[in-house]
Symmetry: C2
Subunit: 389 residues, 2 copies
């Protein structure tokens, strides 16, 4: 199939491109290298070294024996996106090209608005480009489990059967996100649902858990590493914990650390995203998939990292619960469904310990770099202090 | 009190300014005259003649004996809004400064994105300006009953008690809007709810029905008319039906015309918005008020207009159900709560016939203008045909 990955230079995008190429698809990619720039701006860098996009594409061709045709540009620019669609005529398009950091969106008003505009406009552009140039394309869009927040009821996959005052309906599951970034994903989901109602576009909206890990099956062979961020703005929980251990810092769950979230490895994320392509929705269907392996409390993960690090090195990193920079419930019920991907064939790997070991081993090769980034690992961006103009 | 009206030059804003001035408040206003410009662009104009903003403000001062201090600028520009907040230091701010036309948002991609950006950014700017310059200000924000769509259960006011698999929670009422414009109001509501969680801002989020009418108590005395739009992009159901009758056109419910919506007169809208000011939420509260008088089917309103027009003139306008340009259910359950404003003192005027009579009488004085606008009254903007680049 002809597959277009918007955001191909990112953490997920680069790993996904390799999976799809190894499965024999024709892979096309677009990116404006936004994440590289924004990560540099906070004084950070991918810990696993990633070459320039030009060299990346060159190595990709050498290893996979075929071109990844690349378009440099901004998906929030409608002209650019229409041109890419017309050139590629994709069977499937993955939209991974949004501003993807919750802390970044909470730095201040400028970043809040930038996140709103970048993310919403890119998705609006996408549905228009699809309906105008290729209405049969399958859109696979990355949302987040964070859209749901932590309600006191089970979380279903996208829609909820509600009984109220003796009447029934199936309604969108009420969302309740915890950062401007997470809210943009809610807004996108709503806009996608509406685009589907307007034009019967075929859409898979992925509510993804927190992704961790350095590798996939392909990356272990190709050594074409994807980026790996560990700073407080661009890194996420488990990856950062591993980096804290390697850098000789305490591991820092936020607040009480009883917050529970769905997690999955990079390998599982790529598997699920590939299943979405191989098992598309029906024509005209908008479907929502909750995509994670298991849910864990943040404390549980901190302890798991500490333990594995000890087994590998003999040293035991301290666990230090720090003041929570976010606005979130620290003790809550959490029980999200994730049956649909299972029914489509996804088998959660559920090998947390092995995954953590692999991350730490990879990071230990870049121990100095982890230490160099010490000053950007510890939390600084405080939700309530988000700055104005 | 010091009251700032963002969007003071608009249909609601100009009428609200007069009510607040007559109640002794200090009224400040901001506007970028966006609606005037956009209405001209579709070849239309307010049927009731409105003078330039300069002359408006002059007449306001002459009639009410005090200045309405005016700031010309765009609320989507954070610097402008912060400056206005610092100059005014308002006790209450009304946000009526959004792109407010559903058809406009559906013309094409450009307008869809413009509506997303204008509306979301203006509301984000507002909550930041409030928390940075005056966190005690009451924010009264105009949303729409259209945020809820037409679910098969009763619509509550903002939040819904859900029981599911033996557990309970109170969650945001699931929204399901019917145009990009309506979705921006959903996104705004979500963003406001989150801003309240972040900074305990005091917010009234008004889910307003469709407003009709030419006048309020003050306007009947001052003759400082507010704008009155009748074209297919900027006019709304009942107002347009009256204009169609006066222009000698058929009255055109969309589709079957069984769509039900909450409606209220301009007088009632202004009364409700004033109640929101006089009976503020508790400190740190985000409250949602469903603001309408009664709900009617579109056919019922078409017949009511036809009947009243006949009583006034002896002529009976034809009712012609036209193909529905929108994507919406035409037969549906509809039973929204609207108890909170009643509990705060709002008494729905419920004088539909009298209100329609007044509209038609006012329009008959501008019969020629209604006829001149014939070509822009009939529906043209078709949801499914929303154009790309």
């Amino acid at each position: 199939m002809r597959v277009l990955i918007l955001g191909v230079d990112g953490y997920i995008g680069w790993a996904l491109a390799q999976r799809l190429a190894s499965k024999g698809h024709y892979v096309f990619g677009a990116d404006n290298l936004y994440t590289r720039k924004r990560v540099r701006e906070v004084g950070s860098d991918s810990v696993l070294p990633i070459p320039s996009i030009g060299r990346r594409l060159q190595s990709f061709k050498e290893f996979y024996g075929k071109d990844l045709k690349f378009f440099r540009g901004n998906v929030a620019d409608p002209k650019f996106l229409y041109q890419v669609f017309e050139r590629v005529n994709p069977d499937v398009v993955y939209h991974l090209a949004e501003q993807r950091s919750a802390p970044y969106s909470m730095i201040g008003l400028k970043q809040a608005n930038e996140t709103m505009v970048t993310n919403l406009v890119s998705t609006i552009n996408l549905v228009y480009a699809a309906k105008d140039t290729n209405p049969d394309v399958q859109i696979i869009k990355l949302g987040t489990m964070g859209e749901y927040g932590t309600p006191n009821i089970d979380i279903t996959e996208g829609f909820l059967e509600v009984e109220f005052r003796g009447r029934k309906d199936v309604l969108p599951f009420p969302r309740n996100a915890g950062s401007w970034y997470h809210w943009t994903k809610v807004h996108d989901s709503n806009n996608l649902m509406f685009a589907n109602r307007l034009w019967k576009l075929k859409i898979t909206d992925v509510m993804q858990g927190v992704v961790y890990g350095t590798a996939t099956k392909e990356i272990e062979k190709s050594h074409l590493y994807t980026r790996f961020d560990i700073d407080e703005v661009w890194g996420t929980a488990l990856n950062r914990f591993a980096a804290q251990a390697v850098a000789g810092l305490p591991i820092t769950p936020y607040g009480k650390g009883n917050q529970k979230r769905g997690f999955l490895s990079l390998e599982d994320s790529i598997s699920c995203l590939t299943i979405a392509l191989e098992k598309p929705p029906k024509d005209g269907e908008y479907r929502v998939l909750n995509q994670f392996d298991q849910y864990y409390s943040v404390n549980y993960l901190a302890e798991a990292v500490s333990k594995v690090y000890h087994e590998l090195t003999g040293n035991t990193p301290e666990i230090m619960n720090v003041e929570n920079p976010r606005v979130e419930a620290e003790d809550h019920y959490y029980n999200p469904d994730h049956k649909k991907l299972y029914d489509l064939g996804y088998r959660p790997s559920g090998e947390l310990k092995k995954d953590i070991k692999k991350i730490i081993e990879d990071l230990l090769q870049y121990k100095e770099k982890c230490r160099d980034l010490k000053k950007v690992i510890m939390p600084k961006t405080v939700w309530k202090n988000s700055s104005g103009i």
